[in-house]
């Protein structure tokens, strides 16, 4: 069975600084997807970034980038130039590379960006 671990329950960062959120996972699958979702106080689940395991290049979306280490089963999220609107819960998630599969979530990291 797949598991996803987020070892940082809470993180804080000053506005404009950079912060890295950690995620590790366990799977015997060779091909899969990894995601970071953001959940602000509004409760909406918003996709931040996605990585396909067969792609060696790390995904990047504007200020958000990942460090994907497949052998180490690590998938960290880096947020550059942090903004107050980045304050939210961040969930790392795993999905097998098959149709109809489910997302398996980590326990989340609460990120607070302060002025």
């Amino acid at each position: 069975a797949q598991t996803v671990t987020q070892s940082q329950p809470e993180m804080s960062v000053q506005e404009a600084e950079t912060v890295t959120l950690s995620c590790t996972y366990d799977t015997s699958e060779n091909n899969y997807y990894l995601f970071w979702y953001k959940q602000p106080p509004s409760r909406q689940m918003i996709l931040v970034i996605r990585q396909e395991a067969y792609k060696q290049q790390n995904a990047t979306e504007n200020r958000f980038s990942v460090n994907f280490q497949k052998a180490a089963k690590s998938f960290s999220l880096k947020i550059s130039d942090s903004q107050l609107g980045d304050t939210a819960m961040y969930f790392c998630a795993f999905m097998k590379h098959v149709n109809t599969d489910k997302l398996i979530f980590g326990t989340g990291t609460r990120l607070q960006v302060f002025p």
């Binding site: 997807y33 995601f35 979702y37 959940q39 509004s42 409760r43 909406q44 689940m45 996709l47 996605r50 396909e52 067969y54 819960m89 969930f91 999905m95 098959v98 149709n99 109809t100 599969d101 489910k102 997302l103 398996i104 979530f105 326990t107 989340g108």
Partner: protein, 115 residues
């Protein structure tokens, strides 16, 4: 033009009652899901449907019964509500695109409070 919409957003009810949460997606996706987020923010899959067929049932009590009248709708009916059912319930949909672009889109969640 909401992609995944669920109603109601808030639901307060007494123990023992029966209630339903409705979900609709206009993305043309084949797969729909129900996830439960508990008081510690942990998200876990409950059910998934693909083209109206039940694919995943994650050991959810049989008081919970999903129903998919068509692939754009997935409703969740809960009988004999218990205090422990209090949580946020998220509907989601996805379309597996193979080597590309898979992601799950979430509804805004339904906060169920059983008193």
């Amino acid at each position: 033009d909401t992609a995944v919409s669920q109603t109601p957003k808030y639901l307060v009810t007494q123990m023992g009652n029966d209630k339903s949460i409705k979900c609709e997606q206009n993305l043309g996706h084949d797969t729909m899901y129900w996830y439960k987020q508990d008081s510690k923010k942990f998200l876990k899959i409950m059910f998934s449907y693909n083209n109206k067929e039940l694919i995943i049932n994650e050991t959810v009590p049989n008081r919970f019964s999903p129903k998919s009248p068509d692939k754009a709708h997935l409703n969740l009916h809960i009988n004999s509500l218990e205090l422990g059912d209090s949580a946020v319930y998220f509907c989601a949909s996805s379309q597996f695109r193979g080597a590309g672009d898979t992601e799950a889109f979430f509804g805004q969640g339904t906060r169920l409070t059983v008193v």
